[in-house]
């Protein structure tokens, strides 16, 4: 299929396309944005309601594409994109989001760090549990497995999502299918092609609230890998398992997996019953239980996970300036309040589970679009846009400090995960309304 973008006329100022819009020179922002959207949930609503944004159907030219990864795989390489065009994924995002590749990249980054900066620095990457790809690393895995007898491990398919195909095990015989055995004949190996999995040390002491396990979903926006420029959204949520945690029932998916998708199929799942807490609620709960200092340290450790994981793929991700990506990070806390990275999602669910959830996701997506800034309203020096705080800008970003407190307090990071999100007010002050838009 010949992509239309390649076939169109060379542009010049004043060109009027088929929809009668005025195309501006790059850098001046545009009052009319043609968008393509491959998903049918909250993002559709947000794009549709954005003043001056018009959907293009089928093969029409677009300035902005919120695509799904399938489309990306099939079309990205054949698409020519002009400078102003933006697309919602990086070409090889899977280096970060596929479990086996992420682990590989993290391990390599850690090694480099140890070599260049020493053990203590490298230890800052110890936020993912021991992980091995199977069947390729089977023997390495067995070594580790034997070193910690009685431990529990979790097997996850490399490429699936929503909790599918995951199971726990304690005995090697449960995973003989993934045994890498040189004695198998070529035919045998071809016939029973086993799906690639990762075996990961299961965190047996998760932090529990009232006996229930939960994980955190956090939203991180990356607008560039080189230099690394990333934003952290203040809202997020804690997803609770609907049953009480116990190590006795490792076959019970509902206990161990906190994905909303899995919980929805649990027999006692009640859709009316919320199994999510907003991040603010969680942060307040933890502060009430452990004090401000401890919780601030925890959130600092969580920031560290984001930055290090992104740094680990900095050199492998194809840094296309057209690309930005909104990641959904899954973080688990253990009883010592150490955060662990479970997974990074390139297509975090944008379907809303409740009215509150819908509003949060709308705001998240609106602010994402504000940062992508097709309209050219930002000057580029902002540290905060709506609910997003600039977390890393080719270096750490610190909160604004006024002169009076300069001497007394040390610099603190610009992130505010789980803090108050008064985005409306901030946006009012920051952005001029798009022509035709009611006040934000």
């Amino acid at each position: 299929m010949l992509p239309r973008n390649m076939a169109k006329n060379k542009t010049s100022v004043g060109y009027k396309g088929p929809y009668g819009y005025q195309k501006r020179r790059d850098g001046e922002g545009r009052s009319c944005v043609r968008y393509k959207c491959g998903l049918t949930n909250t993002i559709q609503d947000v794009l549709r309601q954005r003043p001056g944004w018009i959907e293009v159907k089928d093969d029409g030219e677009w300035d902005f594409n919120w695509c799904d990864v399938g489309w990306l795989r099939e079309n990205f390489d054949h698409s020519y994109m002009e400078e102003h065009v933006r697309i919602s994924h990086f070409r090889n995002h899977y280096e970060l989001t596929r479990k086996n590749l992420m682990v590989k990249n993290l391990k390599r980054y850690r090694k480099t760090l140890e070599r260049e900066a020493g053990r203590i620095e490298a230890a800052k990457c110890d936020f993912f549990p021991r992980t091995f790809e199977l069947p390729s690393e089977y023997h390495l895995f067995v070594e580790e497995f034997k070193r910690s007898p009685g431990s529990t491990w979790i097997m996850k398919p490399v490429a699936r999502s929503q909790g599918k195909g995951i199971f726990l095990f304690r005995k090697l015989k449960d995973i003989t299918d993934w045994k890498k055995d040189g004695s198998r004949s070529e035919e045998q190996r071809d016939e029973t092609q086993v799906e690639s999995y990762v075996a990961q040390r299961y965190i047996e002491n998760p932090y529990l609230i009232s006996g229930r396990k939960f994980d955190l979903r956090v939203y991180v926006l990356v607008t560039s890998y080189i230099p690394l420029r990333t934003w952290l959204y203040r809202d997020g949520f804690a997803r609770f398992s609907s049953t009480r945690f116990s190590l006795n029932s490792i076959d019970d998916h509902y206990v161990h997996l906190t994905n909303v998708a899995v919980q929805k199929t649990a027999p006692d799942y009640d859709p009316e019953k919320g199994c999510k807490w907003q991040m603010q609620q969680l942060r307040r709960y933890l502060t009430a239980r452990h004090g401000t200092k401890t919780v601030e340290a925890l959130f600092k450790d969580i920031d560290n996970i984001f930055v290090r994981s992104l740094q680990s793929v900095q050199k492998v991700i194809i840094n296309d300036k057209h690309c930005f990506e909104l990641y959904g990070y899954d973080i688990l806390l253990d009883q010592d309040l150490k955060p662990w990275l479970i997974e990074v999602n390139a297509s975090p669910s944008l379907t809303a589970s409740s009215q509150e959830d819908y509003e949060m996701k709308c705001h998240l997506l609106e602010d994402t679009l504000h940062i992508v800034d097709m309209e050219g309203r930002l000057i580029g020096k902002e540290k905060r846009v709506g609910g997003y705080d600039l977390m890393w800008n080719d270096g750490p970003v610190y909160r604004d400090v006024d002169l009076e407190t300069l001497g007394s307090s040390c610099l603190s990071a610009n992130t505010h995960l789980g803090c108050v999100n008064d985005r409306k007010k901030q946006l009012c002050q920051l952005l001029k309304p798009i022509p035709g838009q009611k006040r934000i």
Partner: protein, 526 residues
């Protein structure tokens, strides 16, 4: 009335009586004995030296806190010849109303009991006991069939009773319309007006820093918040209940609140408290009470469906089931207008020696009762500690929200105060709502009965309860109810029915309570 001197002596005597023989008493005695070995204790100045030692080692402070606690739960001092029922409630018509309400509740409970063929109490067979012990930490996973059980009463039933209260000595037939009260509560109790409250709640004034206002994002922390936190830490290190109570008036910082509240309430979670809690737990394991089903049902209907509190379901059972069996709670009936329901051993009705209080703590839960506990789960996750704090909150404050009394913190006064504030300061709104058949109390009542638990977001609720503790009164709950109406007045003026008024006031989860209260108390034009 007695003179001040006699009153004081009587109070002191009562407190000494209550503290005598307590664990604190024996601990202090032991400390005093052991300190005799210390070099600084000299025979010549024995008394002073021991006193000095007890002060320096913090024991005097502990005693001070215990005395302070007793002052909170003492019935008001009165003439020695006063019958105990007058101590509970001085006004006769209130006593009567409470007694007949109790009769109704008990009748309802007994008839449900008979209808369903379920005993009020039964001993659990051994297998069941074992099962329950194993499941103690996850009782929420149980899904017993509760469809046949109904809550004994709901707040709106109670409201009807309050509306029908009348003082037989008060002739209201000749009230001129301008002086008449438009509200539902028609009893002539004394409630404070705004000028009086401005004095009483001076720490909430516009020029004074508050948590819930001056800790918001746009306010630099150096203006108030940082200093307030520093003072909070100091209060905690001093371990002084009275200071903590005073401090709480301006709000408790999230990270310090749990410790501050337990200091104010003098809930120390000593080994004795833990032991007591475990004994109650054993009681739950051994016997099954009918009220347990009511508790289960209430938790499933209210807290489990709440976005904030569903997580704490298991804790709620662990607290409330034990609460029902705690006979120590019976003490509070000496200053509560309510009287615990009595049940008689079969065949011995009327014979006092065969009377048994049912449930053992004398408190029959109603629909929404579990919401008194739910917010506390945010602060305490050790069951015995959570239990101790809840019990103290109940015997100091919550009981007043569902018993008929003339107390200034009682629900009757709160309702009256709410209506009077509305009538005085928002007459147009009140009149309008009255005309369309939407009496404001019908909407606000359920908020006040629960002290707003489940209606406000958790952080706001805790800020409100900071002030309840700080001022040792539930009056602020009535003020907030009026302030909410003031805030939504514009929308309420447009409604044309009770249902639409309810809709306007259905969602309070976005409200910020302290600005509302502050504006209502200090910025209203008198």
């Amino acid at each position: 009335m007695m003179d001040e001197g006699t009153e004081l002596s009587l109070t002191i005597a009562q407190i000494v009586q209550r503290l005598k023989g307590t664990n604190l008493h024996s601990q202090i005695e032991r400390q005093a004995k052991e300190c005799l070995h210390r070099p600084e204790i000299k025979l010549e100045s024995l008394k002073d030296d021991v006193r000095h030692f007890l002060k320096a080692s913090g024991w005097e402070k502990k005693l001070q806190n215990a005395v302070y606690r007793e002052l909170h739960v003492q019935p008001p001092p009165c003439h020695p010849a006063t019958p105990p029922e007058h101590t509970k409630e001085p006004l006769a018509y209130m006593r009567k109303a409470q007694a007949s309400w109790e009769k109704r509740i008990l009748k309802s409970l007994n008839s449900m009991c008979t209808e369903l063929g379920v005993p009020l109490a039964r001993k659990r067979p051994a297998i069941e006991q074992k099962e329950l012990t194993n499941k103690w930490n996850e009782m929420g996973t149980d899904e017993p069939d509760l469809s046949r059980f109904r809550p004994v009463y709901a707040p709106k039933d109670f409201l009807e009773v309050l509306i029908s209260l009348r003082n037989p000595n008060h002739d209201s037939s000749e009230e001129a319309s301008s002086k008449s009260y438009w509200g539902l509560v028609q009893v002539p109790l004394q409630v404070r007006d705004i000028p009086q409250m401005r004095e009483a709640y001076s720490e909430l004034c516009l020029t004074s820093g508050q948590l819930g206002i001056d800790d918001l994002t746009h306010v630099p922390p150096d203006l108030f918040e940082s200093e307030h936190i520093r003072i909070g830490k100091k209060v905690l290190s001093e371990q002084d209940s009275a200071a903590a109570q005073q401090y709480s008036r301006q709000g408790c910082p999230t990270g310090l609140r749990a410790d501050l509240w337990s200091l104010i309430l003098n809930s120390t979670n000593s080994p004795e408290d833990v032991l007591h809690y475990n004994q109650l737990k054993a009681g739950v394991i051994h016997h099954d009470l009918l009220v347990d089903k009511l508790i289960y049902k209430d938790v499933k209907l209210t807290a489990s469906n709440d976005d904030y509190y569903f997580v704490f379901e298991d804790y709620l059972y662990q607290v409330l089931l034990c609460f029902s069996r705690d006979t120590a709670v019976l003490d509070h009936f000496s200053y509560n207008s309510a009287t615990p329901p009595k049940s008689y051993i079969q065949g011995r009705v009327g014979e006092e020696e065969f009377a048994v209080v049912y449930p053992p703590n004398g408190v029959i839960p109603f629909h929404g009762f579990s919401m008194y506990v739910a917010p506390l789960c945010f602060l305490y996750n050790e069951p015995s500690k959570l239990y101790a704090v809840f019990r103290e909150m109940y015997v100091r404050y919550f009981f007043r929200l569902h018993s008929i009394s003339s107390s200034a913190s009682g629900i009757v006064s709160l309702c009256l105060q709410f209506e009077r504030l509305l009538q005085t300061h928002l007459p147009q709104l009140f009149y309008h709502l009255r005309e369309i058949g939407a009496q404001p109390l019908r909407v606000a009542f359920k908020w006040m009965v629960r002290a707003f638990s489940g209606y406000l977001s958790t952080d706001q609720l805790l800020l409100l309860w900071d002030r309840v503790l700080g001022y040792d009164s539930l009056e602020i709950v009535a003020v907030l109810a009026a302030a909410v109406f003031a805030f939504r007045a514009e929308n309420l003026m447009e409604v044309t029915s009770l249902a639409s008024a309810e809709a306007v006031l259905a969602d309070l989860s976005t409200l910020k309570v302290m600005p509302l209260i502050q504006i209502f108390l200090f910025a209203t034009v008198i």
